[in-house]
């Protein structure tokens, strides 16, 4: 990458490589110690529940989880939602960030407005969208004012509209998270590069593809990882809109833990989320690595 590449040789001469490892340890150490002290024991205790009953090791709870009628629909919905939502969300967020960079009138106001959904808890977001999509909600009210027949957007036998409603609500709620990370990342990219490419006659798409996106890679990587992990964690919106008709794995975790009072099966479900999240993160880390890793060595 253009920014870091020239710096690499200089660095080697200024600082002796041997000193680096201890420095990194000093900087990283506190976070590791903090996390282990605080969460180490609860995590071990919580996770082991999935495989332990009074008599020791057991796979009963895993079997229980897999046999539950809501399990596979929940897995399917979770994956479907994430696979459809994340690309749309990133396209939107990058587009929005570029719009802002083009310096439209009132861009500060626009940016503030676009960041507002961040402030809403997912419970509040679910409430707002429920008031829009429910049978006697704002959407059907608007249709009624226009003299049109409303529809039961969230009815259990209307899987498609249900999914679209959840998707719109989630796009609204969580795109700002990606946007803010991307905007923060764009700050570090001097406009000169883009302008230089423009002088040489590169089209908008060429500039996006070869200049802006590569430079944004570190931010996009972080945004992808965080957004995906958080997407596996949120269900309040889907639950508010669809109840039990669009189950998500994390919602099932809560149902087993609080509703059914079975922490063991809940722990097994939590492990499913953990494993899938970690695999996705590893994938993102590897897939987006080569070049930015070169810059930082």
């Amino acid at each position: 990458m253009t920014v870091q590449a020239p710096a690499a040789p200089t660095k080697a001469t200024v600082r002796a490589p041997r000193r680096r490892v201890p420095a990194a340890v000093w900087l990283i150490g506190p976070s590791v110690i903090f996390m282990i002290l605080l969460l180490g024991w609860p995590v071990v205790e919580g996770v082991l529940q999935a495989f332990q009953d009074e008599n020791g090791f057991t796979l009963d709870f895993v079997t229980r989880m897999v046999q539950d009628p809501y399990f596979w629909p929940a897995v399917r919905n979770t994956l479907l939602l994430i696979v459809v939502m994340i690309p749309i969300q990133f396209a939107f967020a990058i587009g929005m960030a570029l719009l802002l960079r083009a310096n439209p009138r009132l861009h500060k106001v626009h940016f503030f407005v676009w960041a507002i959904p961040l402030a809403l808890s997912d419970l509040a977001a679910g409430l707002v969208w429920l008031s829009i999509f429910n049978d006697r909600g704002y959407l059907n009210s608007v249709l009624a004012w226009l003299g049109l027949e409303g529809s039961s957007w969230l009815a259990y036998d209307n899987q498609t509209t249900m999914f679209i409603c959840v998707l719109i609500a989630e796009l609204w709620r969580a795109t700002s998270l990606v946007l803010v990370i991307v905007v923060a990342g764009l700050q570090g990219i001097p406009k000169d590069y883009d302008e230089a490419a423009q002088v040489f006659g590169a089209t908008f798409w060429q500039r996006l593809r070869h200049v802006t996106l590569p430079l944004l890679k570190p931010s996009l990587q972080v945004a992808l990882i965080l957004r995906t992990i958080l997407a596996f964690q949120t269900f309040a919106v889907a639950q508010a809109l669809t109840g039990q008709n669009f189950p998500l794995v994390v919602g099932e975790t809560y149902r087993w833990y609080t509703g059914l009072q079975n922490p063991n099966v809940a722990a097994a479900l939590a492990l499913v989320i953990l494993v899938v999240s970690m695999l996705t993160s590893i994938f993102y880390l590897r897939a987006l690595r080569e070049k930015n890793q070169g810059g930082t060595r």
């Binding site: 009628p69 049978d135 006697r136 259990y156 109840g243 039990q244 008709n245 509703g259």
Partner: protein
Amino acid sequence: MNDRFASTALPSRRSMLLAGLGTALSVPFLSACAGFDTSGAAAGQGTVGFLSTQFTPVEEKQRYEQVLKKFVRVPVAYNSVDPGVFASTVKSQAAAGNIRTSLLGGLHGELAPLAGSLEAVDSILTDLSGRGFTKEMLELTKAGGSASKYVPWMQATYVVAVNKKALEWLPSGVDVNDLSYEDYLAWAKAAKQGAGRPVFGMPAGPKGLHHRFYQGFLLPSFTGGQITTFRSPDAVAAWTYMQELWDNMAPASTNYDAMQEPLSRGEVLVAWDHVARLVNAPADNPDDWLMVPAPRGPKGRGYMLIIAGLALPTGGRDRDLAEQVIRGLSEPLTQVETLRQNAFFPVVQTELPTDLAGAVALEAAAVRRQQRSAGALLALPPVGLGTKEGEVSQVFKNCFQEICLNNEGIQPVLDRQATELNTILKTLNVPCWAPDPVSAKCEVA
């Protein structure tokens, strides 16, 4: 950190603002060490910490705090949480051996799973025996063990709320106060046709109580039992009925947790639900509403009672004061006041006052009719299931899901769910509860 980097690195107006903000916000941080009191416990020693799952809505909580203040002579910090947090809090405090509460309040189904962390209250119940708790109620308080784990606090049941607009579709010759399940279905069909959309609803949302409808109303009325008859031919008839009823109900019902909202929005005109979850529907215009008993079926008018109880955590604080609160709360006067304010009915023997406010008066009348009607058949919430309570309820919800929503064959679903139910019951080895005959061991026949 924030103000440090800002002041050294970027001494501009903005960074001054940030530094100022940081300082301003650190002031409360330094002054209030462990945080501000939010439950009224700051009154200090001798305040009873009362953790409860009931009366979480702001208004209800405020009203109940007034009741406590007026009728209980001990200062009480009333803390209402959702059932999940309630269970976690009690369990973790017991596990850490560091009990921070003195009194727990919850529904039978919420207290029963925690029985291991609750103190026996038999002595208190003996002292209070003059109050007139019923035999069934006292049996419930044992939560499957031999000692009573809670003192009955309040009770509630389920009735049907009717917006008078729906009466125009009531089949002729039918008494709305004595509906049969067939009448109820015919009415739902006629209303759907008349209104152009289904106007009957039920609380089938994720926090809705529809499983109580199958456990305590539908199945007892059709089969005379709850567990033993779970997959009998009568049960198949009940679920066939349910399938047809569901076809005439608002599909949005799978989103409803408490029916008072869709009722007061006019989305639904007739609905069965818990009295406390219906009471706000007629609150503003009680004259437009009726409250009627649940329908009767071939085997009688099945109805379920829900009991809330007061429990003492083992090793809890201020034990004596907490006992005093329990005594205060079981005074007939307090019980009646609770009914007036928050629509939960007394568990002690007492005459209900005649000057109740609109909605509560409607409910009180319906409850009385339901309990005293010919063929009334009392069903109890599962007795002695402990931590498995939720999973048994889930079996009934799954039946609804598979039979009504997925339209699967009834008998196979019931057979499959019966196996599930028997697996749970086998590990527990508990006797059956009303309306099933109290046999040595409860299982699906």
